[in-house]
């Protein structure tokens, strides 16, 4: 259990161990790996958003010199329906298999229909051009309203809505329905003095990781295979690939590269099974790398949504009832982040009566993937926008309105359990005291504020701590480092062992050299893998005490560990000198062999995270362009192991959320073809677009972690959408409910208001 204590290295801003290689270009990412005799694999993708595949003719392509293998859906095993029991949006292994390579139907523009492996990239391109595919085009279903309409074109004729109170009698594009309720919603609204309601839409957006998906696969004649790839979870790559290809898990070794961003988008597989089948067919290693265009069209973005929120409140601001109707696009296969969106939407607030209804809806877009706090930014954008309007209507300060209804320890979350210690009120109070909250604004400027929430995850982790012969420390773990976690692991090992940070090195090992770890996601690694490292270091300390006791000829329970040394406990009558970790390590061969500590766990008690974001914007009345003048992110981190990395997470999430609010969206033509699949036209914010993001870390320790750690990676993206939108509302006097608030949309709203 967490308790106040003085730390020696926890909370310091040490240099990250992977930093030098990353800024000097030495670090190896997914596309950097090569093998002798390697072929280049490429994917033929559907030119249609919705079509049946009638015939694929690969004869001409196969005759091209330098082509070693061609595969289509016929080369992949049939995969039965089996739920992927990961988290939200996980879907079904049969769908995962057909998403990797289409069988009889394509369900989005860019869906893989064939692949080739050739001696050069140019030959692979020529082979793709020679493959002939005969399609029967079907009407594309490109938005929620169309997909949910009666008599809509069905994307999967065998899909019946799951979760409805009554068993459905006909198929639907609505894959699942979910409902949460408490109290009597009608009574709650009847008790209200004021009722507000709004409908909000968010677009399809991409995580925008800089590094495209890439892998090399190699399988030998005995069926043993190795995959080198960039991923957030190499154990998941192993298990998913084994399911999709019907292979034995033990026959697949996955070696993770450094990762150039993932944000949830690299928690699934796309290229790996394709490269594996090409390797098997060609007898050579096969490398595959997505282009940016392919990343946009064929990897998983975040759901577009339509959310209707209704809030009833007393004149003093007390919420009496809330309802939410939430529809999330899943893409061509079921499994959106609707459920966590529904669970998060009212999580920051105490509300006696509520009803939340969620819909998971198929459309002819790429199957969505996780994106930081999956589902929460969309639903909480809607709710936090409406709370802003309610505050204005009630003439209550928006922080005071939230404080009046805020959850704290003992409050029952809308999604079920009671919260333990949480820091939402502390974030609100910090926002109120922050100098940015009272800075004077100029003409056409406005200030907006919004709250964010994410559960944070625990799950399975394992770690080993090896003590080298000179007393230095190697930590071996299996969680890919996507946010500086090597440094955090080293800090925690150093703190436990009582040695300097610089004496600890961390290795992210592959599936054959590390114990099992769940994916790096859910803001779980510093919490859960960190807990495994702490326990493994504790294992080392216990062994060191035994070794010291044996050396001194006393019982082990008479030995303490302090500041990296074994010492006799106070009062023990032993004429001995303390033994340092280095001394014990140097003598380990004589006292029982090498020092190796290990721990594995299924971490429980991940501490929920809350945030408050404040945005100041200026809206150009002539162009509709929105400039962010100031942005302040305040977040409860529990305990910041490395404060600079926590601030980095807060700043990165803020920037992604600002992009979601202001510019980012997939733009489709009438045939369902994305028109802006590149960073020139899919406008993500860059440094010159933004001010420095101000941060303030709040520390309300998580009682379930030895140091009080909460996850910090996902909460930062939740609040910016509404914070920016509320600022635009304040600057213009107009509520524009649909994102992004791009210049054309804002200008149209300004002109409509004038008219």
């Amino acid at each position: 259990m967490s308790e106040a204590r003085d730390y020696k290295v926890i909370g310091t801003r040490v240099v990250r161990p992977d930093g030098v290689d990353k800024v000097t270009g030495r670090a190896n990412f997914g596309a950097d790996f090569s093998l002798p005799g390697m072929l280049y694999g490429k994917v033929l993708r559907s030119p249609h958003a919705h079509a049946r595949i009638k015939k694929i003719d690969t004869d001409a392509a196969a005759k091209i010199e330098g082509v070693y293998a061609i595969v289509t859906g016929a080369d992949f095993p049939k995969v039965g329906h089996e739920e992927i029991t990961g988290g939200e949006g996980a879907g079904d292994f049969a769908d995962l298999a057909t998403n990797v390579m289409a069988r009889d139907k394509v369900v989005y523009h860019g869906h893989a229909v064939a692949a080739v492996a050739a001696k050069t990239s140019a030959i692979a391109d020529a082979a793709l051009a020679a493959i002939k595919v005969d399609y029967e085009q079907l009407a594309p279903v490109m938005d929620l309203d169309t997909a949910m309409a009666d008599n809509a074109t069905l994307i999967d004729e065998r899909l019946f809505t799951a979760g409805l109170p009554e068993k459905p009698t006909k198929p639907s594009n609505v894959a699942a329905y979910m409902e949460f309720k408490r109290g009597d919603i009608a009574q709650g609204f009847a008790q209200a003095d004021v009722v507000v309601e709004g409908t909000y839409r968010t677009p399809t957006v991409h995580q925008g990781y800089i590094e495209p998906h890439a892998c090399v696969a190699s399988i030998n004649q005995g069926g043993q295979a190795t995959i080198w790839c960039c991923t957030q979870g190499h154990f998941d790559v192993r298990s998913m690939t084994s399911k999709v290809l019907g292979m034995n898990v033990a026959d697949i070794r996955v070696i993770p590269s450094e990762i150039g961003g993932g944000f949830g988008g690299k928690t699934t597989i796309y290229l790996e099974p394709v490269a594996m089948v090409l390797s098997k067919k060609s007898g050579r290693p096969v490398k595959m790398t997505m282009t940016r265009d392919e990343v946009f069209r064929a990897s998983g973005p975040a759901s577009a949504t339509k959310c209707t929120i209704k809030i009833g409140a007393k004149k003093d601001g007390t919420f009496t009832a809330m309802s939410a109707w939430l529809a999330y696009e899943a893409g061509g296969y079921k499994g959106s982040s609707m459920a966590p969106g529904a669970m998060c939407v009212f999580a920051p607030y105490v509300v006696p009566h509520f009803l939340i209804q969620g819909y998971d809806v198929l459309v002819n877009k790429p199957k969505v993937a996780a994106y930081r706090a999956p589902g929460a930014p969309q639903s909480m954008y809607a709710c936090e926008s409406l709370i802003d309007d309610l505050a204005r209507q009630l003439k209550i300060d928006p922080i005071d309105l939230r404080l009046k209804n805020a959850v704290s320890a003992g409050s029952q979350a809308a999604y079920g359990p009671k919260f333990n210690a949480v820091g939402f009120k502390e974030c609100l109070e910090a926002a109120k005291k922050h100098p940015n909250y009272t800075k004077k604004l100029g003409p056409n400027e406005g200030r907006g504020l919004a709250a964010g929430f994410w559960f944070n995850a625990g799950m399975q982790s394992s770690a080993e701590v090896h003590i080298n012969e000179n007393g230095t420390v190697t930590v071996v773990e299996g969680s890919p480092d996507i946010g500086g976690s090597r440094a955090s692991m080293a800090l925690m090992a150093a703190e436990e062992l009582g040695v300097p940070y610089e004496r600890v090195r961390v290795v992210v090992a592959d599936t054959e050299n590390a114990g099992y770890n769940n994916v790096t996601g859910g803001s779980r690694v510093t919490f859960a893998t960190g807990m495994a490292v702490i326990q493994a270091a504790g294992d080392i300390i216990a062994q060191c005490k035994q070794r010291a006791a044996a050396t001194w000829g006393i019982e082990a329970d008479l030995v303490d560990w302090k500041d990296g040394e074994a010492i006799p406990k106070p009062g023990v009558n032993a004429d001995v000198k303390p033994l340092t970790l280095a001394q014990i390590a140097a003598n380990s061969g004589r006292t029982g062999g090498p020092l190796l500590g290990r721990a594995s766990l299924n971490a429980r008690g991940a501490g929920p995270g809350f945030s408050i974001n404040m945005a100041d914007v200026r809206v150009d009345p002539e162009t509709g362009k929105v400039d962010v003048l100031r942005f302040t992110a305040i977040q409860d981190a529990g305990k910041a192991i490395h404060p600079a990395y926590v601030e980095g997470q807060m700043q990165g999430g803020a920037v992604q959320g600002i992009g979601w609010a202001l510019n980012e969206e997939y733009i489709y033509d009438s045939k369902g073809v994305m028109q802006n699949a590149g960073f020139l036209d899919y406008r993500m914010p860059v440094a010159s677009d933004l001010p420095m993001i101000d941060t303030q870390i709040i520390e309300v320790p998580n009682p379930s972690h030895p140091y009080g750690v909460r996850g910090v990676g996902e909460v930062p993206i939740v609040a910016p959408l509404a914070a920016v939108a509320n600022a635009v509302r304040a600057a213009t006097g107009i509520r524009i409910p649909d994102l992004p608030l791009s210049p054309p949309r804002v200008l149209a709203a300004l002109e409509a208001a004038k008219a």
Partner: protein, 81 residues
Amino acid sequence: MARVFFPDHLMQLTAGVRELEVHAESFRDLVAEIERLYPGISKVLIGKVAVAIDGDIIHDPFLDPVGPNSEVYFLHRIEGG
């Protein structure tokens, strides 16, 4: 007796019961008791949903202790990004 709460989407398996009291010392025993009341439900409660015991969310619970005054909530599994 631990108090057990089911979300709306699981109430189809509990004949509409949202809340019940169960005597159990571990999650495994708790699910066994619920299975006795609602045959077949354990296929969903183990492996397909998460649980919060006294506020701590746990994926893949099994041997986790349940106290006499514990509050146990079944939840949709959350993994995150």
